[in-house]
């Protein structure tokens, strides 16, 4: 069966131990988490956990069912990657050896609509927001200069359109 990226958009209780229970279920069933992001939502006491997984449709379906079984999980939706809008944020520290390199990097940043948020002698920190593909593409281009450090948040996503 075709392997794909799926996005699980889940609403969970915002209390200690919930992330442990979710992570534990993934470990026990041998499913892999590609990325995960967690934050509170508008409703009191709840959080949204956005988890991306890679696998075939059966794995996605079984993951949803096992997630739904967890008492602290209030709601689970699974989306095909294509049906969602996703955003991820990355902070990337890039080194440069000359003013020429610096201006090249600044150029790339403006093409990708990134923001340079810090510059020190020999290195700069860039904030990249966008789809994971856009971030990957930017990393590709600047990796030749030398990436000193990087932090990515993982995907957060919503389904397109009026469906909820």
């Amino acid at each position: 069966m075709m392997e794909n990226t799926f996005i699980l958009s889940t609403v969970v209780e915002n209390k200690p131990g919930v992330l442990f229970r979710v992570a534990n279920m993934f470990r026990r069933r041998g499913f892999n988490i590609d990325s995960i992001s967690v934050g509170p939502i508008e409703e009191n006491g709840l959080s949204k956990m956005t988890i991306t997984i890679y696998g075939d449709r059966d794995v996605a379906e079984q993951t949803v069912k096992q997630m739904s079984k967890l008492i602290d999980v209030v709601k689970v939706q699974v989306f095909d990657y294509e049906d969602t809008v996703q955003r991820e944020l990355a902070l990337i520290k890039i080194q440069f050896s000359s003013n020429k390199s610096l201006s090249e990097l600044t150029n790339y940043c403006s093409i990708f609509r990134n923001r340079v948020i810090d510059v020190s002698p020999g290195s700069m920190i860039v904030e990249v927001t966008g789809t994971p593909e856009k971030i990957d593409a930017f990393i590709d281009i600047v990796s030749g200069y030398g990436i000193k450090e990087m932090a990515r948040t993982g995907i957060t996503a919503l389904q397109r359109g009026t469906k909820k």
């Binding site: 969970v12 209780e13 131990g17 442990f20 229970r21 534990n24 026990r28 059966d58 379906e61 079984q62 069912k65 096992q66 739904s68 079984k69 967890l70 008492i71 602290d72 999980v73 209030v74």
Partner: protein, 565 residues
């Protein structure tokens, strides 16, 4: 509203949930609860090891259909419960495990007898609570019972820090609870039921596969109605024995690795399988891809995650088994067309008549089956049989006909040796008026044999039949078959003298060297009001056949070690 302590709130909560007996063993971090127990009407049964306390609660739950409760202290007390909790989890048995914990200010400081029991049991419980305020306790207890006993039942743990057991608070006891992430779906989709009725009525060779869910849902009568309406043969899983009377003409017994050969053969020939309250365990199905490959499968289960987990089925139905069977009967009765099944019935009779039990096994392989059949003959139909795990369990599976639900109690999913004896004690506490027998092996019995103390001190008479082959027999059988008779770590020796051992506890010990002696001993045990252990020396070479080797399909049955099929 009056202020009471956390311990009192716990015991009141238990009482309100109908708990009249708990099984446990105290220690430092649970002492406030034990102190409050003195002023409570709840009976406490003292186990001699926490693992046994958990199995007792499990046996109690399976025999009665109500949650069983066990109590242990923090640290080692709590970890000793884990095998019992995992056993209950694997077999969907509702137990509530209550553990002491170090006081809240000392949690996380690696204090004496501190252990993260919530973290440890998370994969083997439906849920684990750790209230941090005494006033949370009434709601936590209520939630725990709701979670443990509804939907697909299972164990729930409540971990109580020592200070909140002591501290007093105004307790607000909720009438009902609402858990927003927990709403088991219990009614079937009507369209799916209609489809199921069509499939079954239009099939030529239907078969019903009945599992533990039928017993949990108290749906044995409804299942029987479906079977008799369709005149379809019924097979069970190992844990499902008792969901359909095995002395019924439509019964073929359990399928699986050590299932009845007629059951395994018939299900391979069926063109439609109604799988009810089963989870497609590999021990039942053999190879998943071979199982039911010529059949259209309908699968009814309350746990959505079981549908399609091990085997893709044509018609999955999420529902409580009883409710689904009820609507299925109604739906089938409305249909006019019903395919004739006489040819299939003839074929099933033919398969049955081809099975000659004398052909099973090697050497004098009849003796242990005779013992098991004799137990059935002498035990009333509501008498309860528990088993240990190993050859004893498989002899029971093959030869012990279970007539009524909740009278066959065995650890199937986890396969826990040492389960049967304490589970028998729990079952006897639940059903004091019926005889309870543990069908044991010498290896398993020794794992929890110290529960004899509990039997004697608490006056709970049970019967233990030890099929004593002085080996870890099932492992030895596999070493004989698959490891070229290289026996590793299985010889137990003729140790101890079981009659002397049980006499040291003050229980009655009897020897039985022949079926005649066994009959005499067992009759004596049934009328005795003291726990009786019957030691039956048997040959370790008597292997359990028929046998579907691991990783094979159910049609590849071995009838003896020579590989005769």
């Amino acid at each position: 509203m009056s202020k009471i302590s956390g311990s009192q709130a716990l015991l009141e909560g238990l009482w309100n949930e109908g708990v009249r007996v708990v099984f446990g063993l105290p220690g430092g971090a649970i002492m406030p609860v034990y102190d409050a127990l003195l002023d409570s009407e709840i009976r406490h049964i003292l186990a001699r090891h926490e693992q046994s306390a958990a199995h007792m609660a499990d046996g109690y739950a399976r025999a009665s259909g109500r949650p069983g409760v066990c109590i242990a202290t923090s640290g080692p007390g709590a970890t000793n419960l884990v095998t019992g909790i995992a056993t209950a989890f694997a077999d969907s048995s509702p137990i509530i495990a209550i553990t002491g914990q170090v006081a809240t200010p000392t949690i996380g400081k690696d204090s004496f007898q501190e252990c993260d029991i919530v973290g440890i049991v998370t994969p083997v419980t439906k849920y684990a609570f750790q209230p941090m305020q005494p006033q949370e306790i009434p709601l936590v207890v209520k939630k725990a019972f709701k979670i443990a006993s509804t939907g697909r039942p299972g164990p729930v743990l409540i971990d109580l820090p020592r200070d909140i057991q002591i501290n007093v608070a105004d307790m607000n006891v909720p009438k009902k609870v609402d858990i927003r992430g927990y709403n088991p779906h219990i009614t079937p989709h009507p369209v799916q039921i209609k489809k199921a009725a069509d499939l079954l009525l239009n099939s030529d060779k239907p078969i019903i596969w009945s599992g533990g869910g039928v017993i949990i849902s108290n749906a044995a009568t409804l299942l029987r109605e479906v079977a008799e309406f369709l005149m379809a043969p019924v097979v069970t899983s190992l844990i499902g024995k008792g969901g359909f009377p095995e002395n019924h003409p439509l019964s073929l017994g359990p399928i699986g690795m050590h299932g009845r050969p007629e059951a395994n053969k018939t299900i391979c020939e069926a063109d439609c399988i109604l799988a009810v309250g089963v989870r497609f365990s590999d021990r039942s199905t053999g190879r998943f891809d071979e199982f039911g490959k010529d059949a259209r499968i309908i699968h009814i289960d309350i746990d959505p995650a079981e549908l399609g987990k091990n085997k893709k089925v044509e018609l999955p139905i999420v529902s409580d088994v009883g409710i689904a069977l009820k609507s299925l009967i109604a739906s089938m009765k409305r249909k006019i067309v019903k395919k004739d099944k006489t040819l299939w019935q003839k074929r099933v009779q033919e398969i049955k008549s081809q099975i000659r039990e004398g052909d099973f096994g090697s050497g004098n392989g009849i003796y242990q089956s005779q013992i098991v059949k004799k137990i059935r003959e002498l035990l009333p139909s509501n008498g309860i049989l528990t088993t240990e795990v190993g050859k004893n369990q498989m002899w029971g599976e093959l030869y012990y006909q279970v007539i009524e639900p909740r009278t066959w109690i065995t650890s199937t999913g986890l396969g826990t040796m040492g389960f049967g004896f304490p589970a028998a004690i729990g079952a006897k506490v639940a059903k004091p008026d019926v005889p309870v027998v543990d069908l044991a092996g010498d290896g398993s019995f020794r794992m929890t044999e110290n529960s004899l103390s509990t039997c004697m001190a608490e006056d709970i008479p049970v019967i233990v039949v030890i099929l004593n082959n002085s080996t870890l027999g099932m492992v030895e059988q596999w070493q004989r078959l698959f490891y070229d008779r290289r026996y590793s770590g299985v010889k137990l020796g003729n140790i101890p003298d079981f009659v002397k051992l049980v006499e040291a506890y003050g229980a009655q010990g009897l020897h039985a060297q022949s079926i005649k002696e066994f009959e005499k001993a067992f009759k004596e045990a049934i009328i005795s009001d003291v726990t009786t252990v019957i030691d039956c020396p048997v040959s370790p070479e008597e292997d359990v056949f028929p046998f579907v080797p691991p990783g094979r399909g159910l049609n590849e049955v071995l009838f003896d070690s020579e590989g005769q099929k």
